[in-house]
Subunit: 334 residues, 2 copies
């Protein structure tokens, strides 16, 4: 039905071996012959059968891009930027297969034959089993966004603990003492890191955060909203709230306005991630920027290097986060 190298061979009056070599630009074939074969291939609109190639070359031309989950807790902006970053690096060379790890009932089908390499955007320690599985199968792997110790696994992430530390410190420097925290989704590593960084900042500046100034969150708008309402109901309410991501910050700000109060005049809010809308909400959100697209690009480049040079570099790459000061924090200094 579709055109094969044998069809080309027949028309060119050569063996299919010669066609194969010609199309792969083997030095064994005369330039003249190559040219002739290429023209015929072109005319017949020949496309190689990748299944056949894969079978004999033992390469799948597939890269996996796995997220902890596609259903919940992964923010859209994050997801988008990650895919975009990876895609911009791999372009034509591989097909990008997107999956949620929680969609797998068994890792059985993840083999060296079906993936030339895998990128995991990991948000949770629960991803460890799949990481071990992939590493054990000897598939080139890079894990983004979460520190991983597994041998032979590349690792690219940003220093979120440090970012949160800066954000916390900034609040203190602006004169805040009563500072509350809305935590990230339980089980997500980033949630832990951000909380840790925040608390280190508080400790470092001798500020204590009482239990009623801590609320759990789910990284979504609604949980930020709910948490802030809780804070507002306190008799001694905080003057500033550190939210573990921008979406929760947005929900929190909403709650403040609904209570008839102002951000930042009555209460200051800090987010994390610097999502696209952070600059455009009112007030513009002070937040911590995390170079997601750079992380995914860097990760993809390292993965390709690893696949193609068969060269394992286990070093961890830690990219810097950056505090972006906008308008959502009030200085309490007279």
């Amino acid at each position: 039905m579709s055109v094969t190298i044998k069809d080309i061979a027949k028309l060119a009056g050569v063996s299919h071996t010669t066609v194969s070599r010609a199309l792969n630009n083997s030095p064994l074939i005369q330039e003249e012959t190559k040219a002739r074969i290429r023209i015929i291939a072109e005319q017949l609109d020949y496309t190689p059968n990748y299944s056949a190639k894969s079978l004999v070359l033992d390469r799948s031309y597939n890269l996996g891009l796995f997220f902890t989950t596609l259903s919940n807790g992964t923010s859209a902006g994050f997801f988008y930027e990650a895919i975009r970053g990876v895609n911009s690096v791999i372009r034509d060379r591989y097909q990008l297969i997107v999956k949620g790890i929680d969609d797998y009932t068994s890792f059985h089908s993840i083999t060296k034959k079906s993936f030339d390499g895998i990128i995991i955007v990991s948000q949770s320690d629960d991803d460890q089993p799949i990481i071990e599985h992939i590493a054990a199968k000897g598939i080139p792997l890079v894990v983004l966004n979460r520190p991983v110790e597994t041998a032979g696994v590349l690792n690219v992430l940003s220093d979120e603990e440090q970012g949160a530390f800066h954000a916390g410190t900034f609040l203190v420097q602006q004169g805040h003492q009563r500072i509350a925290l809305i935590e990230g989704r339980k089980g997500f590593k980033s949630a832990q890191n951000r909380k840790d960084g925040f608390e280190r900042a508080m400790d470092h500046h001798g500020i204590s955060v009482p239990p009623e100034y801590r609320m759990p969150g789910l990284y979504d708008l609604e949980s930020g909203h709910k948490a802030m309402r809780q804070f507002l109901s306190l008799t001694d309410r905080p003057t500033a709230v550190f939210c573990c991501n921008d979406e929760m910050a947005l929900g929190a700000i909403k709650a403040v306005f609904e209570a008839g109060l102002q951000v930042p005049q009555d209460i200051s809010v800090v987010g994390f991630d610097d999502t696209v809308f952070a600059a455009y909400v009112t007030p513009a959100l002070t937040t911590v920027r995390r170079p997601i697209e750079q992380i995914s690009k860097e990760g993809a480049m390292r993965l390709l290097g690893n696949i193609e040079n068969k060269w394992h570099e286990t070093e961890q790459l830690l990219l810097r986060t950056e505090l972006i000061v906008r308008e959502s924090v009030q200085s309490l200094h007279t």
Copy 2:
């Protein structure tokens, strides 16, 4: 290196054909034999080589999910919901390959062998060539989000013109007369539809929209911001602005606040899409909801039906949009 059916055959003392049949649960094989072979396969941790299967079965187990572009103009929320919807339908049965159409330099590699089916989330008439190409190759195809006439192509979309008509009508009903428009990205079909619906509403209610009440936009925050600044500089500024998506609406609202004015007291704003944050901005955004996840699920289901039953249903499915009234529109009736 890796386990094949021949290895299993050797251990089971049968031919590899029997193993193949057993693992595919062929009725030709005795239950007892099947059981024995399955156990051995399990023990050896056998995984079929999909390249080999593909080669002989002439199926790739791949579904393509193509977007007009991954780089620009596709909003993150939209992208996320589309992938999520499709993914939830296909689950284990296929691998989902995500691509931007503008990444293709040639459609040459898109063949029946490499994709069992394709879903295009199309935003622009410029996608027509690839649609024709895929249809010509006889690959099952469903186009989402944009009307398509090409024969044999399934089509699922929402009635955006109607949604925009409702939004425009709503503004008029609230007593607005001076109504401005921030358009969507040029070349995007949705931009045209939304504009058309809006204008039909204006015509229908006998309201004219002068040229200075029309600004181009790019579907992003910044262009909405810029357009609104333009409107605010008019001596006779509009009382309401219809923005062709929520992101531009958010940018527009920002511009209003920056000018020291209030939404909706001084100026009303309507968006389109009902993105996750629409309910959480201040004021909560009145907008048109578009069932993206439903569209993508419906599209994926139809595609699978088409692939598996080889059954072409060319009918177009038009899903309803819905006006979500929140707080960003002021009623001008006393």
